[in-house]
């Protein structure tokens, strides 16, 4: 049941992508019409029926999308949208009821994740549908306004929207190739075995650095804990629960500082319409560094 609903959710994502392709193909002032509509069509296909396509074919489709993006063939279309005056007027007319659909996404997603076995993703999908119906009801918008606005928002995020999945795929390739082992062997080779302070620093900084490279602290955790954490911290008498818990969040400090964690740092920058796509990371770097130092101190104090 959950798997069927999950696939339905991906079909819905695919439809949103097809809509973006349609607007790119028919838009009067669309630049790079073919490339842009091809990109969103391929993504739509991967979402809707990707599970049933041979994986190497999906890989080839990803290559095509990457080539289109690399040669700047995926462009933002020009969309008609409501004027600031219209929005001010409607905001005053409709009032606080405008918040109901927006909150419905969060409430439905939370409720379903919390009280059913369907999971947070299915919850988000159902929440989005409920919110869509509620927003038609509160605003009196027409269906073509919904399709146009979703295409406009997706064009705004652009090819960056596939980055998180692409980086996860890169992580899978790194794993298959055994990149992690090479790194932890390198750190292990230069570290004296019995210096607890250096060991703790290497464990925390290693987690952060490897997370910066992989974009994912979970991927870093197994590798760095086996290569650095066990010999230089846990075998030196540290409380394993405390040291490992702090190592994981030390990895999150790396997540704050890397464009590889694209869904947190880069895609969200496009969602917030930042001109500088690295601005979120720039703001997070000082906090990430301070927190990493705090992690080293906490591990030395609390784990020993």
């Amino acid at each position: 049941m959950q798997n069927i609903l999950l696939e339905l959710l991906y079909v819905m994502c695919g439809i949103v992508s097809f809509i973006a392709a349609y607007y790119a193909f028919t838009g009067k002032e669309q630049e790079c019409r073919i490339g842009t509509s091809l990109f969103w069509t391929i993504l739509g296909i991967i979402f809707t029926i990707g599970k049933y396509i041979p994986k190497n074919v999906v890989g080839a489709m990803i290559l095509i999308m990457a080539i289109l993006a690399a040669f700047k063939q995926v462009r933002i279309g020009k969309f008609y949208t409501s004027s600031p005056e219209f929005r001010e007027k409607k905001a005053a007319e409709i009032g606080d009821k405008l918040f109901v659909p927006a909150l419905a996404i969060a409430v439905a997603a939370f409720g379903i994740a919390q009280f059913t076995k369907l999971g947070g993703l299915v919850g988000l999908g159902i929440g989005a549908l409920v919110a869509l119906l509620l927003s038609f009801a509160t605003t009196g918008a027409r269906i073509n306004e919904a399709t146009r606005e979703s295409a406009r928002l997706l064009h705004q995020v652009g090819p960056a929207s596939i980055l998180p999945q692409l980086l996860a795929a890169l992580g899978a390739l790194f794993n298959t190739a055994g990149v992690g082992e090479v790194i932890s062997r390198g750190i292990g080779a230069i570290l004296p075995a019995d210096n607890i302070t250096l060991g703790v620093i290497a464990y925390c900084v290693g987690m952060a650095l490897f997370t910066v490279i992989m974009g994912n602290a979970f991927a870093a955790f197994a590798v760095i804990t086996a290569g650095v954490g066990v010999p230089f911290v846990l075998n030196q008498g540290a409380d394993p629960a405390v040291a490992a818990a702090l190592a994981m969040t030390a990895g999150y400090c790396g997540t704050l500082m890397t464009p590889m964690a694209a869904n947190f740092n880069i895609v969200s920058a496009s969602i917030l319409e930042l001109k500088d796509k690295y601005m979120i990371i720039k703001k997070q770097i000082p906090v990430g560094i301070v927190l990493l130092i705090v992690h080293i101190i906490l591990m030395l104090v609390l784990a020993f």
């Binding site: 979402f47 927003s135 606005e149 960056a160 980055l163 996860a168 992580g171 390739l173 601005m279």
Partner: protein
């Protein structure tokens, strides 16, 4: 050592601000070839991971509803409401959001998200609060405000989640340690995650309130 070529390509590519997607794909191909995989094996690994990780991109489904609401003045309304409250500043709003987001994550409440919360609600509220307290922001300050709005979600999301006993991070820690021969309980790991969750809220609040002060000084100086 040759296997690390992918990392070098990533670092150089990002530093030179080349197209991100192209850099990532080339790094993947290079790493695969360096490890002795065939072109077909690389494509299969890429495709397989891309399909498995479709969940990362499900924000697509929220776009139609959010688009309509924005088209009909959602952000204007949020800015108007906060604009009426003089005591709300962008920094205080962000600090409050990070605190609530951390608490929610610690209770495993999935309240939050850049698409669900920050863009439609928190960012326009922060813009409204900034306008009320400090006047119109210039381009540079507005970019910084947006950057902090993006960061507030990440701070709260990251450091609160492991306080929940059954969170993915805690379960992964317990599983990996077990494989390495250390038996620890999920509760002990969750408890050990509490201090840093509190400290993260405090450190980020310092950053947010400092931003308020910067805007205030700029206004009084001008």
């Amino acid at each position: 050592m040759l296997k690390l070529i992918g990392i070098i390509i990533i670092i150089v590519g990002f530093a030179l601000k080349l197209d991100t997607i192209a850099v990532v794909v080339i790094a993947g191909l290079a790493t695969g070839f360096a490890a002795g995989l065939s072109f077909n094996q690389i494509l299969t690994t890429l495709g397989d991971a891309f399909i498995t990780n479709r969940y990362m991109t499900v924000f697509f489904v929220t776009l139609p509803a959010i688009g309509i609401l924005e088209c009909y003045g959602l952000r204007e309304r949020a800015a108007y409401l906060i604009g009426k409250m003089r005591s709300v500043t962008p920094g205080r709003l962000f600090a409050l959001y990070t605190t609530l987001r951390t608490l929610a994550a610690a209770l495993s409440l999935r309240l939050g998200g850049h698409v669900q919360f920050i863009r439609p609600l928190i960012l326009p509220m922060a813009e409204g609060a900034a306008k009320t307290n400090f006047g119109e922001l210039d381009e540079k300050d507005l970019e910084e405000l947006k950057g902090l709005a993006g960061a507030t979600e990440n701070y709260g999301n990251f450091y609160g989640q492991n306080v929940f006993v059954a969170s993915g991070g805690v379960l992964l820690i317990v599983g990996v340690l077990k494989e390495l021969g250390f038996n620890v309980g999920a509760l002990a790991v969750a408890k050990a995650s509490i201090p840093i969750a509190i400290i993260a809220v405090i450190v980020s609040a310092v950053q947010f309130l400092y931003f308020d002060r910067k805007l205030a000084r700029k206004k009084s100086g001008a």
